[in-house]
Symmetry: C2
Subunit: 341 residues, 2 copies
């Protein structure tokens, strides 16, 4: 298993990327191809014990910066770490691509370098999300690749999400739900009212429409939404979790007994933090492009990079691309646009 890592991508690259790669290579026994400026990568590698690990450096002289216009950057920077890494995936020299760089850049470079799976109209960014159930999780997409969608895109997101949940997350017969403003079918936007009956007609285990407040309760395994709503939702949840923590800290600091109490409850607080750790849930696979791509959070630290590499490994070894491809293989092009039968 070979994973091509964008060693230059992310707010703390190349240090966090290289550190995460070393960690993942040791823990998961994978080869991590470090793509980027050799001297920068070499300098970071020298800080770690790498004996016995397979961490080849693949030279790429350019970097797509976080603030760059994605389409232009991908077009102009042919020797950027993203473009070079995706060429490895395209040529089957890598099994998957991982980046914590410019999300729009990753999306554009993946579309440019790998193309879409036949029949897929738009790729979707996804993430795993913890629920209150024991080891509970929900798979959410799209969280930002498509801010404006058509009904058929959401149906395809649902199918891709269901396959991911089944083949990679090993959830049998995954429950698929559509994010709306109420469970009732008469609620929601024009888009939602069009998509709901379409989802009912699929073979999916569609359990209906859900509200944002019910997602953490574990009402479904796959939550489908457009990229604008999904992005606002996921960031809203992150912000709320952060704010609750900040407010609690302030109230505790104002009370000496509570400070002692928090000390005694430290184990519980640590366990909670591990459960809602953005590093395990911040990034996820870009589904719909013709290869395994995992987009990690821009602020990824080494642990987050290690986790993203694990996600990429799981997606690749469970052949998610082939699973989605089989679903859409009967797709026929109509008037030049691919259409699902």
């Amino acid at each position: 298993m070979k994973i091509a890592l964008d060693a230059m991508g992310g707010d703390f690259a190349p240090a966090a990327a290289v550190h995460g790669a070393v960690w993942a290579a040791r823990d998961f026994g994978v080869t991590v191809q470090l793509v980027g400026r050799p001297e920068a990568i070499q300098a970071e590698l020298a800080k770690h014990q790498t004996a016995g690990l397979d961490l080849p450096i693949i030279a790429a002289s350019e970097v797509i910066e976080m603030t760059e216009d994605p389409a232009a950057a991908v077009k102009n920077k042919k020797d950027s770490s993203m473009v070079v890494a995706l060429r490895l995936v395209k040529n089957k020299e890598s099994d998957a691509f991982v980046t914590a760089g410019n999300t729009g850049g990753a999306l554009a470079a993946s579309l440019f370098g790998l193309g879409r799976i036949t029949g897929i109209k738009r790729p979707a960014l996804s993430t795993i999300f913890p629920t209150i159930k024991d080891n509970g999780l929900t798979f959410l997409l799209d969280i930002g690749a498509n801010t404006d969608v058509r009904p058929e895109f959401l149906v395809q997101f649902a199918i891709m999400g269901s396959h991911y949940a089944e083949y990679v997350l090993k959830i049998p017969n995954p429950r698929v739900a559509l994010l709306s403003t109420g469970e009732e079918e008469k609620k929601g936007s024009i888009l939602i009212k069009e998509v709901t009956p379409m989802l009912k007609e699929t073979k999916l285990n569609f359990v209906g429409n859900v509200e944002g407040k019910d997602i953490p309760a574990g009402v479904a395994d796959v939550i489908v939404t457009d990229g604008f709503t999904g992005n606002v939702y996921i960031k809203g949840v992150q912000g709320a979790a952060w704010a609750v923590q900040k407010m609690l800290e302030r109230e505790i600091k104002a009370r000496p007994l509570a400070i002692l109490g928090a000390l005694l409850a430290r184990g519980a607080i640590k366990a909670l933090k591990a459960k809602v750790d953005y590093r395990e849930f911040g990034g996820g696979p870009l589904l719909g492009v013709n290869g395994v791509v995992v987009v990690a959070h821009g602020r990824s630290d080494p642990y987050a990079i290690r986790h993203a590499i694990r996600v990429a490994k799981q997606a690749a070894e469970n052949n998610i691309i082939e699973a989605i491809g089989r679903e859409f293989q009967d797709t026929v092009p109509v008037n030049g646009t691919a259409q699902v039968r």
Copy 2:
């Protein structure tokens, strides 16, 4: 100050409504007109000390149920508590209307009974939202009245929200922001990219686009969004706060020392809960209709009803309808549709 309360509205009506009315009449010195079935209201009133309080009963024989189709219910139930209460406001026999009933019904009944403020295209549902700053709050709209919007609606929401923040919440020169998927203007949906330059051209203190994660940090006083996104956001935040609490409780219960710790930190936890209490933040004014209307959460308990009555009182005594009306008085009808110059 007279507030017309839908005594039959909400999951726990009439008990919670009447109890909340008694509480509000005592604490805020307002007259609360209890609109609904007299015998049911009388039976609840008998459970409370009401000597010296002004709590007249206004008979209305029908109720718009939570599951009813709003438009049809308002049309057919002319003697429903909502329709009767709004007639009081229309006839200046009440200064404001408060309900915890069917939100769609409240919206339809308000439009039907009061009409819109001249120049306003769509009313918006709003809520106040706590931030991590000391007594910090943000005013968010729309949270559900309009699931599909046009750019000019959002501009009007921004103007109404700014006025509410200034006149009712007493925030000078309120900072107005647009909810998007990033601060950069090139991010967001087609709608967002159209609205951003329009907001820049207003006289508002527009501070730009914000992400959901930054709202609780207090980056703006007024957050503008469409009713679909706002509803998903607010419910997502509620769900996240609930889930964090549930997860922490579980981790604490698994650890004897943590149980003791939580006991010692009880004061801090209580203070936090008060800060994020949905009863203070779940409902809010419906802005844009020609009268003060406050829509409380369907699950409102007496404290939540009491709070909603306080919000209605503040909105009415600060003449928010007149303030918004002045802003839009120069509006001229174009092709039969009101248009803002």
